[in-house]
Structure formats: structure tokens, C-alpha cells
Symmetry: C2
Subunit: 233 residues, 2 copies
């Protein structure tokens, strides 16, 4: 009997926001795998599950997915990771591969899932709470209501023009990775005469310097900063 | 000691997709409240939690939020519901108010939360898995990846023009309540030369006639139909 691969979204950080299914599968899987960009990096998703799952006695496998600009290096890295996963499945071990937030939101897990299934193994994907749903819950704001539209963009690569285009076509916009782009976001809002008070910042949620409140351009924000803009409030 | 109101997203339907926090709060709350549009209507969210939470011995409260076109009827209804909630909190009872999916996604719970807090009571909001994350997990498709943008619209009121505007500005679009709008969606895709195979239908998930697969214009779809359109696949 070959093992099964479980792709598990562990939610936004608070371990109580894992699903019952995630906990059940993590409890029973022989192997917990987590992706890293550098070897030896502690996985954030692993930190979360440790608080609710006894991982002693389980095999913990770090999978390196390099961000090296060289295509060949990335491909080799990925092939090695796939070999490792298949080897464990061939030994009959179930693998729980953990992802921060939801598996379908800015994660490459689905590609791993496709490759593993193409090789004839069984998989299951377990959705997790996306960080923007957690942020909205803490800010007590609907992401959308009635007939409103809602969008999510990432400003990791500071693609401001794209964010502006999306902002112009929807009622509510979540901007992820907004850390370095607060002045640009203030500019976008001013240009459109959207009051700054219509923008809510959710920054470093669950950390000592957590901030959830109106966008204050004078404030410093942490690395994990998301902004929710609502045209109508 | 006054009771506390918990606004709980119970996820998309599969009871194992409730969070640990949701289960914990549902187990301990004296009252389970659920909103209905007509009195005597069985709440979908209640059906879900019953499968994992022992509700015997708990007070089950149906809250009527009428959709009557008459403003006064709706206001009166809402005021009655609020009185009921406050009365229970005054008796020191904790109330778990359950919502299908996530509390911030097309739900009016946040307005109840705001009103209850304005009256001086404590509340907590617990996010749930939105249906579109569950659909993506079942279809094994990322909602967005890398630098892609993502949006959600509802076609409940067949506001096709708005959906087209959003489609033109994002990389990936989820259309909720797409049941009666399949021909319109096919038209939108054809007009933009987006292949129909780039659209994935997630229909009546978890029901006997569940369908998750490519958009087939000849097929009949159930009431709970969501379409995920990806411009790049």
C-alpha cells in the first residue's frame, strides 16, 4: 500500500483556526512535510501546528523550493523535493504537507499535487482560513456584502498600476504584502478621493506589535501587512 | 456577568472543515443562534454543526431576518432579533451565532456584531472557510499564484455588466450564485476569447449531484453553483 499526500492549509497563524480535518490528518500522518526557501529555515506552518499536534515520533521533512533566479537550479531543487516525497509515499507513509493560510491562496502546493497525482499517487487537499478572512474577523468588517465585488492583489513586486486597475473595478480590495507600499496606497486613495478612513490596516496579526485599525500614513507597519479598502463604508 | 456573543463561520458544508475554535465555542455555548429568512426554516449552518457538536441541552434560537420588501417590516424584524439576543446575554448566557462559510463573505453578521458591541456587550468573531476556497481545493486549482489578482462577484441579481468589468481587470474570477447565469458566462468568455476550458464549475458540492469540472454549456447545474475563471492556465 502506497502512502497518501495531504495538502493542508493550516490557517493564518492562530493554531485554533486549523480545521478539524487538518488536525485529524496531522495527528495520523507519519510524515509532516513543509516547504522552505532556504534549508534550515524554520517553517511558519510547522510552528503553528506544533501548538496543537504532538509531532514527536513523526518524521519531519523540510522540502527546499529554491527561489534562485537560475531556472536550472530551481528545477533541480523541485525534482529533488518530488523524489523525496515519492520515496516516502512508496514506503507506505502518509505525508501531511502544510501551507500557511489556504492552499489555493498564493501557494504553489497545487502544482506539487498535480505532479504527484500524475505519478499515480492519491492526494487530498484541505482548505485553510486565508489571512484576509482572519483580518476581516478581527477588524469586524465584511469583505463583501449584498451585491458587492471583492478582489485580492499582492504588492510584493510593487505592481501598483495593476492594483489601481483592480481598485477601479471592484467595491472592496484587499492588498497583501503592502508593507513597503503604504505611501503608494495613500496616493491611490487620495487620487480617487477615497477617504483614508475607508482603509483598514491589519499588520503583524498575532505578534506583539499587532495593529488593526485605520490607515495612518505616519505609522510604521510590520512585514505582514494587509490593507482592506472599502469604497462604501 | 453578562454573556458573550460569538459570531462563528462554520465553513462551506463539510463539518470537518469547521475550525477547532468554532467547535470549542459551540461545545461550550449555552445558546446556538442561527439566522433564517422565514420562521421554521431549517438553518443550513445548524445542520452542519449538528454533525460534530452535541446540541442536546442547548437552547436553539432561530432569529428571523426578513427579506420583506417593506423597510418597516425588516426593521421591526431586526429589532426583535436584537432584543432576543440581548435578553439572552443579560441572562449570562453565551451565544454562538452560526454562519455558513466565512463571517466576512456575503453575510450580515458584522452588522449584528457592531450593534451588539454598541450596546456594551462583548463579542468574538471566528472566521470560517469560504466556499470558494473549498471549491478550489476540490478542483485542485490555485485561486491565485505569484503576482496574480483574484476577485469574487455574485450574480444573484444577474448584474452581468459588473461581472464583466471585474473580469476585465483581474487574472482569476470566482462567480458565485452562477446557477441561472451559465449562458451569460459562456457569452462573456466567448466575447473575450477565453476558452471555456479555462472555466471550472463547482456545483452542489457535497450533495448527490455534485459536479466539479470544466464548464459544459449543455449541462444542467444545481442551485449552489460557483464558477472559477482563470485567464491563464
Amino acid at each position: 500500500m502506497k502512502g497518501k499526500l495531504y495538502g493542508i492549509g493550516v490557517g493564518p497563524g492562530n493554531p485554533d483556526l486549523m480545521t478539524l480535518r487538518a488536525k485529524e490528518l496531522l495527528d495520523k500522518s507519519a510524515v509532516i512535510a513543509y516547504p522552505v526557501k532556504k534549508l534550515g529555515e524554520e517553517g511558519v506552518a510547522l510552528d503553528i501546528i506544533k501548538q496543537r499536534v504532538d509531532i514527536s515520533g513523526k518524521e519531519i521533512v523540510e522540502l527546499l523550493f529554491s527561489m534562485n533566479p537560475d531556472d536550472e537550479v530551481r528545477k533541480k531543487c523541485r525534482a529533488d523535493a518530488m523524489e523525496k516525497v515519492c520515496g516516502l509515499l512508496d514506503e507506505g507513509k502518509d505525508i501531511a504537507m502544510v501551507t500557511l493560510g489556504d492552499v489555493a491562496v498564493y501557494s504553489t502546493y497545487m502544482y506539487i499535487d498535480r505532479d504527484i497525482r500524475a505519478r499515480g499517487y492519491e492526494t487530498e487537499v484541505v482548505p485553510g482560513i486565508p489571512s484576509f478572512c482572519h483580518g476581516a474577523a478581527l477588524a469586524r468588517l465584511p469583505l463583501m456584502i449584498g451585491e458587492e465585488s471583492f478582489a485580492v492583489v499582492s504588492l510584493a513586486k510593487r505592481n501598483n498600476e495593476n492594483a489601481e486597475k483592480v481598485l477601479d473595478s471592484v467595491d472592496n480590495l484587499v492588498i497583501m504584502k503592502a508593507f513597503a507600499s503604504i505611501p503608494a496606497i495613500v496616493g491611490m486613495l487620495n487620487e480617487r478621493k477615497i477617504p483614508l478612513s475607508n482603509a483598514t490596516v491589519m499588520s503583524n496579526v498575532g505578534m506583539p506589535d499587532e495593529y488593526i485599525g485605520p490607515l495612518d500614513p505616519e505609522r510604521e507597519y510590520g512585514y505582514f501587512t494587509t490593507v482592506l479598502i472599502k469604497k462604501k463604508v
